[in-house]
């Protein structure tokens, strides 16, 4: 029992020392919304929405506030959460009255900003130091107010690149963000060559989109199978009322090819050196196991193989022993292997001597200081343990003596003949 007690005390002391040595102050606060995407609503008189949040990682009392165009129409279930409160969840409710009009607000996207922050006022009253630090987290809520008249925007747009010989497709959506319905409108989609001449054209007319609604379009196939590999400029134009909106996008038609874009041009002559080759895939799919053999003045090396994603640029690296290569300019031969194909490329490389740099010896006084502090603390701890152990040992001896004395007394008592009871 006595041993356990000593061990327990030593452990506690050790934990205390370690805690003092390594304890640091951390300040934080954050906000958690129970849905990943930023909430976004279309303006409508009478709109009512509630969003749930939680203040997280708070290290002080938390202040919650809302600012922005619609903040007058919001309520918070909590605007202050003391640190000791376990329930840090709260709800923001947006309630737009029936008697307000879109014209009362800025057309387009209006952002309400919910802020969760440290109670800085209290912190400044209670804390000391040169800098009183504070953290805050802001998260937006978007409310889209319709524009007066006619107003359209593209929203989603998806035009996948492809490999030569294949057709592609186009997915997009048009959002009527104006107060008026869009009636009898049309779009054009054009794929152009490098001279700007139309190669493929797709059109659709008689499109009607009611106010504040979004309409999705899907054009398939777009006959790109006859196009040569390369990059093509595409333009999608939507004409409505007397206005139009357009979007340009580069369409890539791939071929099974990998090009060397760049490579290391200078190496030291004294060791095994890294030789980097920057390669670029022209293929709209993964090319596995792309590698290169390099030869400099008869010394060979091979890069590690790499998998290139669609149209990816990537560096592959070879380790080459340059110790037997003379200083000077040389030709580097690079054989690049990809899929079932290969290509050879010659370039220049310079082999140089490594300059001698004398680095000044630096003493890290911070680390030395820390080591001294730790050693001193450990020494104090050892001395404390020795003193403490001696004291306990002394107490133990005293106790042993007492027990021995007592047991001896009992033994003596036993040995003494008992006095006859008086009758």
């Amino acid at each position: 029992m006595k041993n356990i007690n000593i061990k327990y005390r030593i452990l506690l002391l050790f934990i205390l020392v370690i805690t003092i040595l390594f304890s640091t102050t951390v300040l934080s606060v954050g906000v958690k919304r129970f849905s990943y995407n930023i909430p976004e609503f279309e303006f409508k008189p009478g709109l009512e929405k509630s969003i749930n949040y939680e203040a997280i990682y708070s290290t002080r009392n938390t202040v919650i506030s809302v600012k922005g165009a619609f903040s007058n129409y919001t309520t918070l279930s909590k605007d202050y959460i003391p640190l000791e409160n376990k329930d840090k969840k709260f709800t923001l409710t947006i309630k737009i009255p029936l008697n307000v009009n879109a014209e009362d607000f800025k057309p387009g996207t209006n952002t309400l900003m919910l802020t969760v922050e440290d109670d800085l006022k209290k912190a400044m009253e209670e804390e000391t130091g040169m800098f009183i630090l504070a953290t805050a987290a802001r998260t937006p809520i978007r409310i889209n107010v319709p524009y007066p008249g006619y107003y359209a925007e593209f929203d989603e747009f998806e035009l996948p690149s492809l490999n030569n010989g294949l057709d592609t497709s186009l997915k997009f959506s048009i959002w009527n963000r104006g107060k008026n319905d869009l009636v009898n409108t049309n779009y054009d989609f054009i794929v152009k060559d490098s001279a700007g001449d139309a190669l493929i054209t797709k059109t659709e007319g008689n499109i009607n989109i009611p106010t504040q609604e979004k309409r999705y379009f899907y054009i398939s196939p777009i006959e790109t199978g006859s196009l040569n590999p390369g990059d093509y400029q595409t333009t999608l134009t939507y004409d409505y009322s007397d206005k139009s909106v357009s979007k340009d996008y580069k369409l890539k038609v791939g071929e099974l090819n990998v090009d060397i874009i760049n490579h290391t041009t200078q190496l030291y002559n004294d060791s095994i050196q890294k030789f980097h080759i920057l390669v670029e895939s022209d293929w709209n799919d993964m090319i596995r196991g792309v590698y290169a053999d390099i030869i400099i003045n008869g010394t060979e090396a091979k890069t590690t193989p790499a998998n290139l994603e669609n149209f990816e640029e990537r560096t592959i690296t070879a380790y080459i022993d340059t110790t037997s290569i003379p200083v000077g300019n040389h030709t580097v031969e690079m054989d690049l292997y990809f899929a079932t194909d290969s290509k050879k490329q010659f370039s220049n490389i310079e082999i140089i001597e490594r300059p001698v740099i004398e680095e000044p010896k630096q003493i890290n006084w911070t680390i030395i200081g820390l080591i001294i502090i730790i050693v001193l603390l450990l020494a104090v701890m050892v001395i404390f343990i020795i003193i403490f152990s001696k004291k306990l040992l002394k107490n133990d001896n005293n106790l042993t003596k007492k027990v021995t004395k007592k047991s001896k007394g009992v033994k003596d008592d036993k040995e003494k003949p008992s006095k006859p009871k008086k009758s």
Binding site: T24, T25, V26, L27, S28, V29, G30, V31, K32, R33, F34, S35, Y36, N37, I38, I56, Y57, M113, T115, E117, D118, L120, A123, M124, T128, G129, M130, F131, I132, L133, A134, T135, A136, A137, R138, T139, P140, W365, T366, G369
Partner: protein, 214 residues
């Protein structure tokens, strides 16, 4: 009761016939045959749902800079002293102050979303240090923490030292247009450079807020 071999053989054959007949009957059943068969009309679907929350959180993992107590050592003919959290800093013209043990403030994005980070001083910097042109100044600089390259991208208005009076009294400055949440690159250092003129006095403190916006 005694059962002879003949009776046993008859019972065995009868049992086999019943077993085969039963099997054929089940297999030929028009309503799906074998019990447990997953027919097109009785398929049950289960769903697995999950929802990732959006967490926007900033944490000062190193939250203290204190240069201590001292004074401007005018005996050297210098009228101000420079204190900095950078390792290369020294204490030119400073007596008593200590900046050798100070490290920068370290701010970490411990949420799961990239965020814009703005810094602001709650009060006018002149309440902390005069900044009256006499030589005093407070400057901040934000860089990626060592080994966390790419933590701060986009607009970086504090990539070199900027006077604090340009973002005090609730005027914010964008330290990082995008502060990464990837745990391998989610820390930035905020270095402080404080120049104290010989005219400064008293025990001063100021509040610096770091704000993350989703």
């Amino acid at each position: 009761m005694d059962v002879n071999n003949k009776t046993l053989a008859v019972l065995l054959i009868a049992g086999m016939i019943l077993s085969i007949a039963g099997t054929l009957s089940v297999l030929n059943n028009d309503n799906g045959g074998l019990t447990g068969y997953a027919g097109s009309t009785d398929t049950q679907y289960g769903t697995i749902d999950y929802n990732i929350s959006s967490n926007v959180v900033l944490s000062f993992t190193t939250a203290s800079v204190d240069f201590g107590t001292g004074y401007v050592d005018t005996t050297l003919g210098i009228t101000n002293c420079d204190l900095t959290t950078e390792a290369s800093g020294n204490e030119v013209g400073c007596a008593g102050f200590d900046d050798k043990t100070n490290s920068p403030l370290v701010l970490t994005n411990i949420g799961n979303k990239d965020a814009e980070v703005n810094l602001t001083f709650a009060d006018a910097v002149t309440t902390f240090i005069t900044q009256d042109g006499s030589g005093s100044s407070l400057q901040l600089k934000v860089t990626d923490t060592s080994g966390e390259g790419g933590a701060c991208t986009g607009t970086q208005s504090l990539s070199s030292y900027v006077n604090a009076n340009t973002f005090d009294s609730a005027a914010e400055i964008t330290a990082c247009g995008t502060f990464e949440s990837d745990p391998s690159t989610n820390s930035i250092d905020i270095d402080v450079n404080l120049t104290i003129d010989m005219d400064e006095s008293g025990d001063q403190s100021i509040s610096l807020s770091a704000i993350a916006t989703e």
